[in-house]
């Protein structure tokens, strides 16, 4: 089920909210949480119910193993290793088996049978989340207190499909407290406001930009020569499409969670305002960066073994991060490119130090954005050849010149203005990036901090909702649902 679908907004969500709040207001905490678990399974199974058992099994097994790691002193190492292997095995089986087999068959002439399994939705997200949990339980010898809370930590539908990759230490205390008493009106109002903003970003902005990006990449995929203008228009349209798609999804996830009194970690913080690639990765898919840093980069040695090793670790971490997004060489190329960017960025800082001042900021922002746009090309392109053709066209080695369409340029310009100049929705809602879980619901949240009267803000949100609802009947799939 998509957040931006009529069945979700007009059917699923009102029912779940009504049931949850009915239980919550009667302080039936466990019943309220069970409503969330049940609705999360319905949400997950809406597209393809075949993988609901896989989801349930993985949650049950990981929880059981975490209890064993906590309590079985003698074999905790075995349980730990087994759980990590099982999680990675599951992910590899569904996501990477065919990719690996195809490459082995092509390079060595083998004939390994391909399975063509449909990828269980969100497997990369819930697997990484549970791996992190198992690692932390092994370190701390402390498993989740409650199976229901653990289930929600993994399956809570606002973050289930496309993140953020939450950490159990920030989520379990919230789920433990969930389901009791009235929710502060400001929290619910902020949730609704952030959800509407996210919906508009996705449906109005990202889906519109997709209509300009898709034809360019399809043309490159079909082997047609693109002009430099068309290639740049397609690439820029995609750069802003994925920005507003992911930003919109992240806002909607945070807004939805707030409607249930839960605060999700911030996953997206105006990344195109980044002044360097290092800064970019502190703002784009923050929860994935956090995971890769904690569970890949640091275990590989981080920066503890000299500069060369640090750069190698950075590069490897990012290439693997690329592979996490999809089983294909284009994703690995995207990750490797970002790895290279990070190495250059760290090297630059080491040699020249950090630049300051307005000019340096502007220059840094422009260079970072250009590098990111170039990297999106292999990420979006259907094949390596298409990516090469697109990049060649962007460099001026494409077909005859053709001027891009006015609506495409206007849409890109409007999206750029919003991405570079406007405050993001979480800034508007005063949503704090970091917050002690216990203080979650008590912290003040205003639906809009702009210096305009609240009724005007409500009216503006109403207008945004109208635009989004008008475009709702033909929803586009969130790009991050594919990962």
């Amino acid at each position: 089920m998509l957040f931006n679908s009529a069945e979700f907004i007009f059917f699923f969500l009102p029912i779940v909210i009504s049931l949850y709040w009915a239980m919550r207001l009667r302080s039936r905490g466990n019943a309220a949480k069970l409503v969330l678990v049940g609705s999360s399974l319905v949400f997950y199974g809406w597209w393809d119910p075949r993988y609901v058992p896989v989801m349930i099994l993985t949650v049950c097994v990981n929880y059981a193993v975490s209890i064993l790691i906590e309590r079985d002193d003698k074999r905790r190492m075995i349980w730990f290793a087994g759980a990590i292997a099982a999680n990675l095995g599951l992910l590899s089986f569904f996501k990477y088996y065919d990719f690996a087999a195809t490459n082995l068959n092509n390079h060595f002439g083998w004939s390994i049978t391909l399975h063509h399994f449909a990828l269980p939705l969100a497997i990369s997200f819930f697997t990484f989340q549970q791996i992190a949990y198992i690692v932390e339980v092994y370190k701390d010898r402390k498993a989740a207190d409650s199976f229901i809370d653990y289930s929600l930590f993994v399956m809570f539908f606002p973050h289930l499909i496309a993140g953020p990759i939450t950490h159990h230490k920030e989520m379990l205390p919230q789920f433990k407290k969930a389901g009791h008493g009235a929710l502060p009106p400001a929290v619910a109002a902020a949730g609704l406001a952030v959800f509407v903003i996210g919906l508009a970003k996705k449906v109005v902005v990202a889906d519109t930009l997709a209509t300009f990006a898709d034809p360019a990449f399809a043309a490159a995929g079909a082997g047609r020569a693109l002009s430099a203008a068309s290639a740049w228009t397609g690439s820029l349209a995609y750069a802003f499409q994925i920005y507003f798609d992911f930003s919109g999804y992240s806002d909607m996830a945070i807004g939805l969670a707030l409607l249930f009194g839960i605060r999700l970690p911030v996953n997206f913080a105006s990344p195109y305002k980044a002044t360097s690639i290092i800064d970019f990765w502190r703002r784009w898919h923050i929860s994935l960066s956090r995971f890769l840093r904690a569970y890949l980069y640091i275990p590989l040695g981080g920066n503890r073994h000299g500069t060369v090793r640090q750069y190698a670790n950075l590069f490897a971490t990012m290439a693997i991060g690329g592979l996490w997004h999809g089983a294909g060489w284009t994703f690995i190329a995207w990750g490797a490119l970002h790895g290279l960017y990070l190495v250059v960025n760290h090297g630059w800082r080491r040699v020249f130090g950090e630049a300051h001042g307005r000019a340096a900021t502007l220059l840094g922002r422009a260079a970072t954005f250009a590098a990111v746009v170039v990297a999106w090309v292999p990420f979006r392109a259907p094949t390596g050849d298409a990516a090469t053709a697109m990049l060649a066209a962007m460099a001026g080695f494409g077909g005859a010149s053709a001027s891009p369409s006015g609506p495409a340029l206007a849409s890109i310009a409007a999206a750029a203005a919003m991405a570079f100049l406007a405050p993001n929705s979480l800034e508007l809602a005063a949503y704090r990036q970091r917050l002690a879980p216990a203080a979650a619901e008590a912290a003040p949240l205003a639906p809009c901090r702009l210096r305009i009267p609240r009724p005007v803000a409500a009216a503006a949100l109403g207008a945004a909702a109208a635009l989004a609802l008008a475009m709702l009947p033909d929803p586009g799939v969130f790009l991050y649902f594919n990962f």
Binding site: A189, A219, A222, P455, A459, A470, P473
Partner: protein
């Protein structure tokens, strides 16, 4: 708490008002008919141009689905009629045009018929019929219908009613934006005969729109065994009354309503109606319920074409050989229909064909 409700109320009221305002936005009708640019559906733009801008007469118009689109070559039909000496009572040449659009749905046929009959004087309207009226509404109805058509469409049992209603605000907004600068969206502001598909577009050999060939040459002959098997499977699955026979009228209310409106308008305008029975291969020899057509016009049953396996490119569509035979057969039968607007004269030269079709078709690129 109440303050929050008040703010939500303001937001909801503004949202509803904005949606209503979008529906009221004006736009250019020519832009509306061109705006659907997906594959063969893009011929809606050509249909509008043929009706409104091309002065070549339209005496006979075909309305139907892809069966008619792929099955009738209107220009060849004109030539066969001329060769057989069939002309209007006034001796004028008979000009035919095929306005069929892929996919089922009488509601779109109503929109097409109204557009045609309201703006042109035609003699005969040829309406495609099947073994039963389709219960489906046409997916393109929302693309070209007026706002009033969408709002006043019969809701029971119209599977697309909410679908169309929900799309209306954005359609209006989008058409308003496109009407401000059609060229920016790849649309024509005014008629340009140098960028026109011609007075007749033949889709029996190659399905094409705007100079783009959407299919290869349609000479494929479906394997006879597969053709029989698929036709038999379709007949087995056929369910004429999903709600049971007692609810027949309710189940077929939407197509009955729109066909009724077409026939009523044709009567009003003095246009004769001919039904062309053109179902898929292996379908019953006659419609299951012909009450709708009885007394409204003659029906042509091209049994000898429908029965020949080598004429089918798939179980629903004739190939170019089947289409050529059907087109010839239609002209042969025309004299026997007793149409008041048509008379036999000594065989003469073909009519002036109007604007020529595009000389070269480019292959579709994706």
């Amino acid at each position: 708490m109440w303050r929050v409700f008040r703010l939500v109320g303001i937001g909801a009221a503004v949202a509803l008002a904005a949606l209503a305002a979008m529906v009221l936005l004006p736009h250019d009708r020519y832009v509306r008919w061109q705006a659907m640019k997906v594959e063969a559906f893009a011929r809606l733009g050509w249909i509008y141009e043929r009706i409104h801008f091309d002065p070549t007469p339209i005496d006979i118009a075909f309305i139907g689905t892809s069966h008619t689109l792929n099955g009738v070559d209107a220009e060849a039909f004109e030539r066969h009629l001329a060769a057989a000496g069939m002309r209007g009572r006034d001796g004028a040449c008979l000009h035919a045009v095929n306005l069929a659009i892929p996919s089922y749905g009488r509601n779109l046929h109503w929109i097409l018929a109204r557009e045609l009959l309201s703006h042109r004087r035609i003699r005969t309207l040829v309406i495609e019929i099947f073994e039963n009226e389709t219960r489906k509404a046409h997916p393109l109805f929302i693309s070209v219908a007026d706002v009033g058509d969408v709002l006043s469409a019969p809701a029971l049992i119209n599977l697309n009613y909410l679908h169309d209603l929900a799309r209306l605000p954005f359609r209006q907004l989008s058409l308003w934006a496109k009407s401000q600068s059609p060229r920016s969206w790849g649309l024509k502001e005014t008629m340009d005969f140098t960028d026109y598909d011609g007075s007749n577009v033949d889709n029996t050999r190659v399905v094409n729109v705007g100079g783009i060939a959407l299919t290869p040459v349609r000479d494929h002959v479906m394997d006879p065994a597969r053709l029989d098997a698929e036709a038999s499977a379709l007949m087995t699955e056929k369910n004429l009354h999903m709600l049971g026979g007692r609810f027949h009228d309710m189940e077929y209310a939407v197509p009955t309503y729109y066909l009724g409106r077409i026939l009523e308008l044709a009567r009003e305008k003095g246009v004769e109606v001919v039904f062309l029975y053109l179902p898929g291969y292996g379908k019953p020899a006659r419609p299951a319920d012909d009450r709708l057509y009885r007394g409204a016009g003659a029906t042509i049953f091209p049994d000898e074409v429908l029965a020949r396996r080598e004429y089918w490119t798939d179980v629903n569509h004739l190939n170019l050989h089947g289409a050529a035979h059907l087109t010839r057969l239609l002209a042969e039968r025309w004299a026997g229909l007793g149409l008041s607007g048509t008379a036999a004269f000594p065989a003469g030269p073909a009519c002036a064909p109007g604007y020529s079709p595009r000389p070269l078709l480019k292959a579709a690129t994706n």
